[in-house]
Structures are given as C-alpha cells and as structure tokens.
C-alpha cells in the first residue's frame, strides 16, 4: 500500500435535506419544545431531546424543526444543524415506520450478525441507511448496543431483540409487515419509531411496566449463586 490512495472521505457527511419543507410542527410542538427547554438549568441542554421530539413529529430532522429549535433556544439554525448532523440517531431523510437495526460490531458480527444483516437487507430489498418505498421499514447497521450477552442482537425502534437467529429475523419482519403484535424480548410491545422518539425526547408513554425485569443472561450469575447458596457477606455497621 503506497502512493496517494488514502484520502478523507466521509460519505455520511452532509446536511439536512432542505428541499423537503413539509412539516407537522404546530403550536403544540412549540409548547413541548419550550417545556423541554425549561427542564434544564440552561435551556440549550435540551437540544438533543428537542431534536428527538422533532423526529417524532416530522419523521426526520426537518428544516422547520431546525428553525423551531433555534427559535426556542435563541441560537442559530446553523448551530442546531451542527448538532443534528453529529449524532447518528438523527435522520436527515424520512425513516420507516419501523427502524430495524442489526448489530455488526465485532462480537455480534462474528456470532452471526453479518449473516443477519445480509438476510434482512435482502428480505427488505434495501441497503443499510435506506427506507423501503412503502415507508414501512428503514435499516441500519448498528454499532454495539450494550446487549453483548444476548448476541447476536437486533433492535426494532430501539427495543431489544435478543439472541436472534435467521428464523426469528424472518418471523420478525413478517410480523411487522403484517402489523401483527411484536414484543421486544426485554421491552414493550413494538409501536413505531416515531413513538419511540417521543419517549426519548422525555415524554413517557406509560409502558415502563411492560416486559420482564431482566433477560435470562442478566440473571445467570444470580441464579448460579442461588443454586450454590452463595451470597455477599452479611452487612455490618458503618
């Protein structure tokens, strides 16, 4: 390897799509954006949650959404865009109703994640970072999602889909396509990506009590300790 074949090239770089000016942002949205800003000692701290809210309302980071955040926070649209384009969860093009992630960081990739990504991509007929023409699915190749003891891992609308196999992946996509009920292995019933973004913005959806307390792998050490009669020492006094 020699010569000048190396060059900086960032295909994911780019700006928000300013040509699509459609929006659903209304007075209610503005009121909620202001409410988010009021939760912090300094309003600008709310920008990440505010952008999550913009996505839940507009299905992407929209030009109007950027202007709205800038107006509420008293900063420039360029400052908002600069933040919106830094973080991978913010979409510059409309995503699908369901956002499918397949982890292909080293461990998941080795355990079968690569094959799962290929399979899901083929089934949906799209590459990572694309959305199906009917707007039902978007696909992302994920970096580590903090569920390695459940590898290989997929995510739907940022809900865990643990211990995936090709059969389970097939069923998952079929069920979502048919609007059948799908439950996360360690989370709630799947709704939509936009509904998920609203929770991340900081507006609870009242579904915290759905799903288990923990997955089997999370409980493994504790269950072995119980079997063997092992425990931490009895507490003393401080």
């Amino acid at each position: 390897m020699s010569g000048h074949e190396f060059q900086s090239f960032f295909p994911e770089s780019g700006t928000v799509d300013m040509t699509d000016t459609t929006t659903n942002i209304d007075d209610t949205t503005f009121a909620e954006l202001r409410q988010l800003a009021s939760r912090y000692p300094e309003a600008r701290s709310a920008l990440l949650p505010m952008l999550h809210l913009v996505q839940s309302v507009d299905g992407r980071i929209s030009p109007v959404g950027i202007e709205a955040c800038a107006e509420v926070l008293g900063i420039t649209a360029a400052q908002v865009s600069g933040v919106a384009t830094f973080y991978t969860m913010y979409r510059r093009r409309p995503g699908g109703k369901h956002h499918i992630g397949v982890c292909t960081t080293a461990l998941c990739a080795v355990m079968g994640g690569d094959a799962l990504l290929e399979q899901v991509s083929e089934k949906l007929g799209i590459q990572p970072d694309e959305t199906t023409p009917d707007g039902k699915f978007s696909l992302e190749r994920l970096e580590c999602n903090a569920a390695c003891d459940f590898a290989p891992v997929m995510m739907v609308n940022w809900e865990f889909m643990d211990n995936m196999t090709p059969d389970k992946a097939q069923q998952l996509i079929d069920d979502l396509a048919a609007d059948a009920e799908v439950k996360s292995t360690r989370g709630a019933t799947i709704t939509s990506w936009r509904a998920a973004e609203r929770v991340l913005a900081g507006f609870p959806d009242g579904r915290a009590d759905e799903g288990p307390s923990a997955g089997e792998a999370s409980l493994l050490g504790k269950s072995i300790a119980d079997e063997k009669g092992w425990a931490a020492p009895k507490g003393g006094k401080s």
């Binding site: 390897m1 074949e5 190396f6 900086s8 000692p41 300094e42 600008r44 920008l47 990440l48 952008l51 926070l73 830094f86 973080y87 969860m89 992630g101 080293a106 461990l107 080795v110 355990m111 690569d114 990504l117 290929e118 970096e143 580590c144 999602n145 903090a146 390695c148 003891d149 590898a151 609308n157 940022w158 809900e159 196999t165 090709p166 996360s184 360690r186 989370g187 709630a188 929770v199 991340l200 900081g202 959806d205 915290a208 009590d209 307390s213 923990a214 089997e216 792998a217 999370s218 409980l219 493994l220 050490g221 504790k222 072995i224 300790a225 425990a231 931490a232 507490g235 003393g236 401080s238």
Partner: protein, 440 residues
Amino acid sequence: MVDKLTPVLSANWGTDNSWKLATYQAAGGYQAVGKALKMTPAAVTDVVKDSGLRGRGGAGFPTGMKWSFVPKDNPNPKYLVVNADESEPGTCKDMPLLLASPHTLVEGMIIASYAINCHTAFVYIRGEVLHVHRRMQQAVAEAYEAGYLGKNILGSGYDLDIVVHAGAGAYICGEETALLDSLEGRRGQPRLRPPFPAVAGLYASPTVINNVESIASVPSILKNGAEWFGSMGTEKSKGYTLYSLSGHVARPGQFEAPLGITLRELLDLAGGVREGHELKFWTPGGSSTPILTAEHLDVPLDYEGMAGAGTMLGTKALQIFDETTSVVRTTLRWTEFYKHESCGKCTPCREGNWWMVQMLRKFEAGQAAVGDVDKLLDVASNIGGKSFCALADGAVACVTSAIRHFRSEFEDGYSTPAWELFPYGRSALFEVPETQGAHA
C-alpha cells in the same frame, strides 16, 4: 471466606416488578438515603473513600476521592452527572441494571449528590435503549412522588432534582468531557484538561461524573459499611463488581463477584467455552482494553492484575472468542467501530482510524503488501497518545495487542484472505451462507 459470587446489585433483578418503587423498598431500598441524610456530607464522602470503591466505568479512579475534589469555596452550583452512555463494545452491565433496578441508581444519585452539595443531577443515557429510558423516567417520577426527590427530602431540608436525559447515538459521549458538551446541547467532542470537570465541568461549574455501576454501588456501602465492602475483593481492588461474559461461551451472562476472580473461574461457572471449542483470545474490559489469550486465564480480574498483564480491567466486559475466529476480521470490525465513532476533533484519530480501516480491509482480503504489519504499527503509533481523549488509545490498543499476540495471522493477510483461513460460518451460532466478509 467470601463466596465466589456475591450478588448485591443484581440480587433483586429477578424479582417480579423489580423496577418499581414498592418492590425496591420492600427489599430495604432507600434505607441508605435515610441514613446518609442524617450524616454530614463530608462523612458520607469519607465512607465511600474508606470503602475503596473505584470507578466502574473503565478508569478505576477512586470514587470518594473524585467527590472530594469538588471545591467547597466555589460559588457556582455543583452538579452530578451519571454516565449511562454504555457503548464500549462488549459492555452490557449498566443497561440490565437500569432495566431491572433503576431505583438503585436513583438512591445512589441522591446520596452522591448530597455528599457533593449538588441540587441538580443528571443521568445521561444513550438513546438507543428505549425501555431503559421508560424504566428510568418512571423510577424518577416515583421517587418524586414518594418524597425522595424534590424539596426537603425526607424532612432533611435537602433539595434535589434529577433530570433523565437521552443521548442520540455517539460512543464518544461516554468520554466524560464530551458527555458534558453533549449535555450542554453541543456536538459531543472532548475538552482539553485541565481544567478538570471537578473544577469546571457542566456550565463551567464543579461537576462529578460517575459511571452507573459506581453510583449504584453507593447505597450498599452506606447501608452495610465501608468495611463490609472491603471484605470483598483484593487489597487495592475492593468490593464486588459486575463481570459480563459474552461471545463463544456456553452460557453468556452477568456475574457479580468480588474483584480478583479469574476468567478461568468465571468460565467454569458459565459452562466453559462453547462445546467442542477452545479459547483463542478475549478482552478483559471491552474492545479498548488490549486483548489477552489463554495464557492469562489465571490472572486476577482486578485493576492491578490486568495492568500487570499489559491491559486494563476497563468495564469488565469479557468478550470470548474461540479458535474459529479470525483475529484480523475482529480487529477490522473494532477499528471500523472507532473510525465510525471518532468525533473528528483530533486529526490523528480522525484520519488515522480511517487509514487503519483501509489497511485492515486489505489484510482481511489477503491483499496486504509484505511489510504492511509494520506499517500498520507505525500508523498506530501516530494515533495513540496524540489525541485529546482515550478513544484514540483504545482504537490503537486493539490493533497493537492483536498483532502482539497473533502477528503471523496478520502476515497471512499478505497472501490469504481471512475467510479462507477461518471460514466465517464456523464462528456463527447458526448455519450461515458462505461469505467473504461483509465488505468484499
């Protein structure tokens, strides 16, 4: 003699409705807050100092000492920020903790905030874990309702607000100063230190940033005493901690044990490497900690033991890879991760990881030129230690340690594709079509 496994944080994870306030209280939850609020803040800090608790997010800095660095005479508000941006490849302990027992963190945050005289605390949770947000949001709301948060907590006169905050997809925000920039509504890029966050952190005010597990360990220490905590673990690495086993093990999962347990002992409990296979390499604490091999099976998994083996305890994320795994492929994937996650601030990291990915793709495809191993090491040496934050060092560590232990496998990349030497289907948990690497 302390038992081999010592569930404390994970003791209640299997209980029905473990995430609810009533369940947590029924098991003795929030007793430590009552106790702490009757002590002076300095006395609370002393207990944590005396316990020997060290940061569980990777660096291992003594937690109580970190708290004591907050200047008392600084007129600005003090802030506590809990780092729940868990994104280091292999690391998967904080998310199950927050799913199953968010109140453990809330209780720890109240005690820590009281100790540093903070009245507004934040928990910064990575965005890509929806249900964790739900559980944490609900736990904080419950705690307000019960009078554990808000004004005049338990009649003590002490006030505290907790804000649950969502990140938006950026590994770099697990770096504490990048996290602060992100929490201020900016691009998450690290800051030059000094000044350290303890002096000028969030909004240029004194700030303590602790990992979820560190803060979650505090209630048990307050409740049972520093001596109790120190009765587990080793001389310099005290207490219990969460070890996360993943990859090619018969039964992956979370194991809470005293610091100093060995991988051999943990593997025994996990049923060993998956049937019919043997250990090839592993990470002690995520992909940023230099990899180890079977010769390190008996090294104590504590801060000193790992440092002695030329690596770090990190997040105790033990990723196990068996003999079917191509170390070149694995290293490439990790490097692609660092390239993807480099924030772009420092040229060596931004450009260097880009270069390393291109080189490693050639190694994987068997198209590297003779001598490229040394060139790769040379590129690596221009990245590590030459950037603002530890992301660059982590990126380099996985490459250099892989070459140190498996140099000949990289040299095979001068002529033979990794997928020929290690057919990728053999590493997978299920039958997969023959593939030549995702990028071929």
